[in-house]
């Protein structure tokens, strides 16, 4: 029996019916298919904030030379002015030598008024819609630290309410930060003064850090943030409160634009009961060092998770 050459399906198809009509038909399908693909991409035209070539190519923060950084800051100022009509002053503030920040919160004094929450929003140019707030105040019943029992949405007529204490929670700037460990692109890291910062122009928005944080301190921009132009704070810093883009993470950074200038963070300055304490823990005379030295009862939240926060909760009555 002569060996048969196997049937080539392509050739068979070619023989079986590639007339001009079927060629036209196939082309029609291909053409309409391509038209459908093109039409499906129409929503891309609704994009408001298209990445420029400059933004796309921007290097990682730690690799920017001082000249690069000048250009980047100028670019940020231009963009903010274009967007909000206000010319900001954007700086790149470096950590100070011999400084490590710590924060202490007096749970005996906090009345849960939430002024800190909103002062932070105003200082740090956070989106008002969708709403982003770095600080979340929990209304806790007496006798427990189980956050399950906390109320996030309290709208009492008057605070403090009897039988409750109030616990504001924000980024704890941990010594052993899980968010820094898990970020696949090093977009978040801890600086020498203890602040965990984010390079907003490097973050890819995978939200792994948000899943990793045991304090639910990190926030994501689900869409382009909206800030009313008359509420913009023009004193900005690159790693701090400059307006962020859609699709990147942000969080409390101990007001780098203030604290690296030697000033107190916004949340502390507005607290009506003086419950918030901040300073350089390497300075033994700072109020934060004195508190941690003299108060008998102070604690870190979720100590068992091993993050070793730089945020302490203490009591005096």
């Amino acid at each position: 029996m002569p060996p048969t050459v196997p049937t080539d399906p392509l050739a068979a198809a070619a023989d079986a019916g590639m007339s001009r009509r079927s060629f036209l038909r196939t082309s029609a399908v291909l053409a309409t298919g391509l038209a459908a693909v093109a039409a499906s991409l129409k929503p891309l035209f609704e994009m408001e904030d298209i990445t420029s070539a400059e933004q796309f190519m921007q290097k990682y923060y730690k690799e920017l030379t001082p000249e690069d950084m000048k250009k980047v800051l100028a670019r940020v100022e231009r963009e903010v002015e274009k967007q909000y009509g206000i010319r900001p002053h954007v700086r790149d503030l470096k950590p100070m030598d011999g400084v490590e920040f710590a924060y202490a919160l007096n749970l005996s004094r906090c009345i849960g008024c939430r002024k800190c929450v909103h002062a932070c929003v105003a200082e740090n140019n956070q989106s008002r819609s969708p709403e982003i707030q770095y600080i979340r105040v929990l209304k806790m019943p007496h006798g427990t630290f189980d956050v399950e029992k906390g109320d996030h949405y309290y709208a009492s007529e008057k605070v403090p309410e009897k039988g409750f204490f109030y616990m504001p929670i924000q980024c704890q700037q941990c010594h052993n930060p899980p968010c820094v460990k898990v970020c696949p692109v090093h977009a978040t890291w801890q600086e020498t003064d203890g602040i965990t910062v984010i390079d907003y122009d490097w973050c890819i928005g995978c939200r792994y850090c948000e899943a990793a944080c045991p304090y639910w301190a990190r926030r994501f921009n689900f869409t382009k943030p909206s800030i009313p132009a008359d509420r913009i704070n023009p004193n900005m810093s690159y790693l701090g409160n400059r307006p962020r883009r859609q699709g990147v993470m942000e969080k409390c950074h101990f007001c780098v634009q203030r604290t690296r200038d030697g000033r107190y963070p916004a949340c502390l300055e507005v607290c009506p009961t003086g419950s918030r304490k901040f300073g350089n823990i390497l300075d033994p005379e700072s109020e934060i060092s004195q508190i941690l030295r003299t108060k008998r009862v102070f604690m870190q939240l979720k100590e068992d998770v091993g993050t070793n926060p730089r945020f302490f909760y203490y009591f005096d009555v």
Binding site: T7, D8, A11, V185, G205, W216, T223, G247
Partner: protein, 426 residues
């Protein structure tokens, strides 16, 4: 050298052309998949323009169906290796050629995984930040960086193995052992690693006690090795029906044995998990309470998890009984397993990790219409890829698309397929 390159390009061109050739059932299937994929592309364009606000995700539940599907599909991709082990380690002749169908499924699954991860990114235009050397790759600290390496490596491994074997068969030459056998053995270990690394993504988060448990890794593998081979069992029967490629029932029953044992282990691990979570009354199990019983009036996931458990138990019983030797019942068990495990990995693993939040707030999650369309679109695209892979590989394995018949024409419609015996490729 140049001839070799030219021959390869001819081969690729013929493979590409054959993807567009078929009968009306083929065109209908591909047409439907293309339409669904285009709905997905359109939905993604909306998401790209407006951000992830068009999904149902929030700061409280920051990962949703995209990552759930990703997790499930990594398991499917890993499970392709379950066919490789019997063939190469236990010398099972029945499964020889079918290994290629399993590995092609793995390639399609990995493509879908990479797409699901990409659509989940907030700034996909910054993907280059992930490239080692050019971007800032946080290896070895970040488990996501491990995932990037193992998934892309697995993709390359399988593309190489399948590509090499198919091209050798196309040329009618015996494949050189050193060009594929070492890769096959690497692929076996690599398959276990891709799913373990994906499990470690979750396990490594100390702030989420629902995930921070040593059972997550073993459960991932057990459920992957149940759902993956179950999918392959169904896929092989479809291939058999549509292309008349010779696949013995014995091959399917070998896979059945794998699904059976894996499902038993999966259910055993579930029992372990439920006991650990509920017996001691410890407060860290609040997410499990939400999942299985509901919490503070929120119980969106409760019907899902109990359905998944029921489906898995029924599937387990069917698989254990001899009646699952009959393909009718085996297929039912496979479908139940796949659905049950998809729910378990999605709703049963990803979402409860976020509810309640680490600060105790309960915000539930429902995928939005846009999110769902993107998911369907990616699945459709994956099925498109797999269909094209099969459309290219089956004729090659049957010898109908071969170097020998380059340019030779024969009359007759292409899809009346003669029953070509499955040739061994070793």
């Amino acid at each position: 050298m140049i001839t070799a390159a030219r021959n390869y390009l001819v081969f690729l061109r013929r493979c590409a052309r054959i993807a567009f050739v078929g009968d009306w059932r083929y065109y209908t299937w591909m047409g439907v998949l293309t339409v669904v994929a285009l709905f997905g592309l359109n939905a993604y364009a909306k998401q790209f323009a407006h951000g992830l606000i068009v999904t149902g995700m929030s700061d409280e539940v920051s990962w949703g169906v995209y990552i759930a599907n990703f997790t499930f599909l990594v398991g499917v991709a890993a499970a392709a290796v379950m066919m490789v082990i019997p063939v190469y380690i236990y010398d099972n002749e029945e499964l020889h050629d079918l290994v290629i169908f399993g590995e092609l499924l793995a390639v399609a699954a990995i493509i879908m995984c990479l797409m699901f991860v990409t659509v989940d990114l907030g700034r996909p235009d910054r993907f280059w930040h992930l490239i080692p050397g050019i971007g800032q790759f946080n290896f070895p600290a970040s488990m996501l960086s491990w995932d990037v390496i193992v998934l892309n490596g697995y993709l390359l491994l399988n593309v190489h193995i399948c590509g090499y074997l198919l091209y050798s068969r196309y040329r009618g030459v015996k494949p050189g052992k050193w060009f594929y056998i070492p890769f096959v053995f690497v692929a076996i270990f690599w398959a276990v690693s891709i799913h373990t690394v994906t499990a470690f993504l979750y396990v490594g988060l100390g702030g989420r006690p629902f995930w921070n448990s040593s059972i997550v890794g073993p459960r991932f593998l057990a459920s992957a090795f149940t759902a993956g081979p179950a999918l392959i069992i169904l896929a092989l029967q479809v291939i058999r029906r549509v292309t008349h490629y010779h696949i013995t029932d014995k091959a399917l029953l070998t896979l059945r044995a794998i699904v059976q044992v894996s499902m038993l282990i999966n259910v055993f691990l579930l029992v372990n998990e439920v006991f650990k979570e509920f017996y001691s009354g410890n407060l860290h199990v609040i997410s499990s309470r939400y999942l299985f019983l509901g919490l503070h009036g929120h119980h969106a996931l409760v019907p899902w998890i109990w359905s998944a458990i029921t489906l898995n138990l029924i599937a387990m019983v069917i698989l254990v009984l001899p009646l699952s030797r009959s393909l009718k019942y085996l297929n039912v068990a496979c479908v139940l397993s796949i659905v049950g495990i998809w729910i378990e990995k999605g709703m049963g693993l990803v979402i409860p990790g976020f509810i309640p939040t680490p600060l105790g707030a309960v915000v539930e999650y429902t995928p939005s219409l846009n999110e769902t369309l993107v998911c369907f679109g990616i699945w459709a695209f994956g099925l498109l890829c797999y269909t094209i892979f099969l459309r290219m590989s089956v004729p090659i394995l049957q010898g109908r698309l071969a170097k020998a018949n380059e340019g030779i024409s024969e009359p007759g419609p292409d899809d009346v397929v003669e029953d070509a015996p499955a040739a061994s490729h070793s």
